[in-house]
Homo-oligomer: 288 residues x 2
DNA sequence: TTGAGAGTATAGGCATTGCCTATGGAATTT
DNA sequence: AAATTCCATAGGCAATGCCTATACTCTCAA
């Protein structure tokens, strides 16, 4: 039994003629005749009586045709359900972002995205890189906004942006009015930094090590805003990515001139994943 | 979209692996892989994510699989419904018989048939040959028990029995004690016969004509029993087929020795008709 | 009664399809 | 690091579905 055979027998049942059914199905009449014969052999019974020049359903045929019609209808329903799912703007997307990106990138972007896809279901989580990578792997997250470097071959990465690092200094700091400075200029300064586990801390230390300075870490925290408060209080200076600049705080931001003092933000997905319309739109949107 | 593709994707959904699905479907894994790819191209979306060495349904796949399962189930239901109909002992059969056969053949046979097929639905009608032939043609009858000669190419005939003709004479007739007689011996005798429209009348007259006698028809009726009454009363003699012999009547039956003085009874169906189990059984039964 | 027309069935040919085996590529396990 | 496992690709081939041509039968009109 094949689908085209079902289409042919239904066409015969509707038109009352092999020839007209063949026209409707856009095949030659002998081809249709052969396929009907084949189906009848497969089922072990005649579906049509050939009475001279007219054709009539047999009892078995009358029993069969409603099933055949239903199957063909369900094929269309199956196609539609897949097409709908594929184009559904009511889909969901789960996105993770690391804490040094989430508060600066996600609010504005997700507000704009929700406006564009009002029926989409967004789920945003803020976690560290290892946690987010694991969630991508177990498929509880569709997308993660991370920072390089990453060494996961099973992830497919889409660059979003590369931003310079800035030194945050107290208002009365000698470098407060400088247009830029080199990392080596910060040798001997006390630092306030994110604690272990944050990839930005690793990035900062890597940049310092490359500039041959060993940062004296006077204070650690889990969020930039705490760090900024400490800088304002004169406890020490810090490094932040450009997106974390807060113009209203009592600090000054000075661009780091070292060419390697940058952070590349990426969107990461698990390699091999297929996405629905909403997920695809989110990924496309956040890259622009 | 083809049935085998649906079988393959359902097997993957159930086993979680292309390789195990291929085993279950008894085809090589590359063949299954290609068919899944073809279905995905046809639908325009991925049904499965290939994640390293594991496979997982996509959203579109999760939407599709229930439909695919339902379609495959319905295919089996369709097959079953046809097979059931083909083997159903509760089917119906409509049979016609001409008046010179019906009262002698149908009662005993239909009683035996009803005992053998208690759930079958029998419908028996008694009509003349032209009416029965027309009913076969418009499909209101499945089978007709008729007598030769017939000249209908659209009918398929199955011989039941050939029986000799008998002369019916009064008890005190000179031939009453004869073992047999030739038709020519009846020249000059008055006849009582069935009226026009009955094929047995045509048969009788044809036999007489062939024997070179012109029967003097003193009385006509529509049934043998009336004819028998007239013979008993001495109004004339008659011809009857063997099956119409009534041993309890006040007449004597003498076999006609002319070799052409016979009647062949046949079961007739419309050429090209397919039959259900009950109709097939009836036809087979009445031929034995 | 005869010939034309209409409809289904058969025959043979051919492009396409579904399956095969062999093997490549990548991930996972030992 | 090597072996194993799983899916994907490649090339070959038998089976299939369609084609055209035509046979056969029935119906209709002259």
């Amino acid at each position: 039994m094949e689908f085209h055979q079902l289409r042919y027998v239904c066409a015969i049942a509707e038109t009352g003629s092999f020839s007209r059914a063949a026209e409707r199905c856009q095949i030659a009449q002998p081809s249709l005749s052969q396929q009907v014969l084949k189906l009848e052999e497969d089922l072990g019974t005649k579906l049509f009586d050939r009475l001279g020049r007219s054709v009539r359903l047999t009892e078995a045929g009358r029993a069969f045709i409603p099933h055949a019609r239903s199957i063909l209808e369900q094929i269309e329903t199956a196609r539609s359900s897949v097409a709908d799912k594929n184009m559904d703007v009511r889909g969901s997307v789960s996105v993770g972002a690391i804490p040094t990106i989430a508060p600066y990138l996600m609010p504005r972007f997700t507000a704009a995205f929700a406006k564009k896809y009002p029926d989409a279901k967004l789920r945003i989580v803020e976690e560290t890189t290892p946690v987010l990578v694991e969630s991508l792997r177990d498929l509880s997250l569709d997308l993660a906004i991370l920072a390089l470097p990453l060494r996961h071959k099973d992830l497919e990465l889409f660059p979003i942006r590369t931003e310079p690092l800035f030194a945050v200094v107290p208002k009365d700091h000698p470098y407060a009015g400088a247009e830029s400075l080199a990392l080596r200029d910060l040798r001997g300064e006390p630092f306030v930094m994110l604690r272990d586990g944050h990839c930005f801390r690793d990035l900062s230390i890597a940049a310092c090590t490359h500039a041959r300075i060993t940062p004296n870490i006077a204070f650690e925290s889990a969020q930039f805003s705490s760090l900024l408060g400490m800088v304002t209080a004169g406890v020490g200076i810090s490094l932040v990515p450009e997106m974390a600049i807060d113009r209203n705080a009592g600090c000054r931001y000075v661009r780091i001139s070292d060419p390697r003092a940058t952070r590349t933000i990426v969107a990461a997905i698990l390699r091999g994943r297929s996405f629905n319309r909403v997920q695809t739109a989110f990924l496309a949107g956040i890259r622009n």
